[in-house]
């Protein structure tokens, strides 16, 4: 069991009763200890996949194995290994966070004494201990999302699935949540994350699958995927942007306002060329940043523009990019 992949999704297909084919026979593998991003636009099939993995959705065909345990054939054994943080708040809002966590442990067969110790540990780690004995409905949105993470940790899962856990959460709480999740990943828990905040996926995840219209359009490592980005756009804060901009070979320079320039250039081109040309024209650069997140640029290309990035190393394409 220890050598088995954390997750093997094998030709999984789901057709809902209304005829919608949410998953069209997808396959992917997540290795133990990975921090894996599962991205895709709304309605792509991410939540259906997570629903099947957590046994809330019945698959039409195919199977998934969690550390070797079949979700179809060994449901109890597979579920024992999973912790789920769903997209929607799904605890009894009239119960207390402490009771929600202890009861969750009970559903996994964990005795009450141990459950109480774990509840205290995880509620403290997620900074919810002072709310432990209040009704959950009194908590803020960010607290409720952290409570769902604490609840998912009660069975100390080997595979933690986070379905848009930071939706609508402010930046400070989001960072604290990622600090916690990164910590448990570092301790050995495999993490699968879906999110619409692509900078989160880029900074946290080592491997990535992009799903669209029920098919996997990209499944590779984050490094390889980012390496396929051939063009980047930088925003330059300058002391004074002249009306007449210098013509630079291979670089498209645009003036946004009197203190801001945009430079679009190939990733293969070195930045020294750009700075040398700007210096030669007496344009002083105060600061510089990427216009968009790199993963966001690729995501848009793959999903919305239906374009493919150039082949990169061992990158596996399981389908074609969608026509927007």
């Amino acid at each position: 069991m220890s050598s088995a992949p954390a997750l093997v999704v094998d030709n999984l297909r789901k057709i809902y009763g209304n005829g919608v084919e949410a998953l069209k026979g997808i396959s992917l593998t997540v290795q133990p200890g990975d921090f894996f991003a599962l991205l895709g636009p709304n309605g792509a099939g991410k939540s259906t996949l997570i629903g099947i993995l957590s046994s809330l959705v019945n698959s039409t065909s195919g199977d998934a194995r969690v550390f070797g345990m079949s979700v179809n054939q060994q449901r109890s054994e597979a579920m024992r290994l999973i912790g789920l943080v769903p997209q929607e708040i799904n605890f009894n809002q009239f119960e207390k966070p402490f009771d929600i966590c202890v009861n969750e442990a009970g559903f996994y067969g964990i005795p009450r004494k141990i459950a109480a110790q774990r509840a205290e540990k995880y509620l403290k780690e997620l900074r919810l201990w002072d709310k432990a004995q209040h009704q959950a409905r009194e908590m803020s949105g960010g607290m409720k999302r952290r409570l769902m993470i604490a609840r998912a940790m009660m069975n100390e899962p080997k595979l933690l699935i986070l379905d848009e856990p930071t939706a609508g959460v402010d930046i400070e709480i989001r960072r604290s949540m990622w600090q916690f999740v990164s910590g448990i990943n570092a301790a050995g828990t495999t993490v699968i994350l879906t999110t619409h905040y692509l900078e989160e996926a880029e900074s946290l995840c080592r491997n990535i699958a992009i799903i669209d219209h029920g098919t996997i359009v990209e499944n590779t490592s984050m490094k390889r995927l980012l390496a396929t980005l051939d063009v980047e756009t930088f925003i330059l804060d300058v002391t004074s942007a002249p009306a007449e901009l210098p013509q630079l070979p291979g670089i498209i320079l645009r003036r946004t306002d009197e203190h801001t320039l945009e430079a679009e250039m190939a990733r293969s081109q070195d930045l020294n060329t750009l700075f040398a040309a700007l210096s030669a024209n007496n344009i002083m650069v105060n600061s510089m940043r990427n216009k968009t997140n790199r993963l966001e640029e690729l995501f848009v290309r793959l999903v919305e523009n239906g374009r493919q990035p150039p082949e990169a190393g061992e990158s596996k394409r399981k389908g074609q990019g969608k026509a927007a």
Binding site: L56, V57, E88, G109, R112
Partner: protein
Amino acid sequence: MIRHTNLVALYTISRREIVRIMRIWTQTLIPPAITMTLYFVIFGKLIGSRIGTIEGGFSYMQYIVPGLVMMSIINNSYMNISSSFFGAKFQRSVEEMLVAPMANWAILLGYVIGAVTRGLVVGALVLLIALFFTSLHVAHPLIALGAVTLGAVIFALAGFINAVFAKKFDDIALVPTFIITPLTYLGGVFYSIKMLAEPWQVISHANPVLYMVNAFRYGILGISDVSVGWAFVLMLVFIAALSLVALQLLKRGVGLRS
């Protein structure tokens, strides 16, 4: 390991249900006690005093006590499980149980234990209130206890099935209004079916509540309109059939899984 998991899960669900009942006791325990007190005052004291003895030398008040106790038990057992399980569906907290490695029987039994507990606590309260109005001597304690327990289990299972199919709160109010209340009122709570003319006496035998009420009345007063042995057989058959239906619904995930 799996067996241990199911036992802990069963304990967790039962405990959570009982804690919920006790936490909101003003909604779960007091209203039925007040309603039944009004029944005792109006039907038992005011109207019953003009009726005199009804059967076996018992006063009308004594005669209706077992029926009213059974009525409150089945109503509360049904309402508890239907509102609690549908509430879990509505808030999606039912997913906590569906994604856990526990067996379906543990989910069902946990909710049934909670519902039966509420039914029996309310029944005990109603019986206690009845003692303020009349004296009772329990003729067959074990039969009385068996009848109320099986009656509570039957309506708990029926309430669970109702909650599985319910899509909105209105759906869990329909069955009590249009099925349980008429069955209870026509199930010999307030009268002996021997008082009915044919064909109503025969038709009444198709009402399952009649057997529950009379089995309990036999346990308390020692009199019954139906065979007590047959009543217990029927109740056990109902429990077996409803349990199979409920477990099948859970297995197929009807109303719970996509």
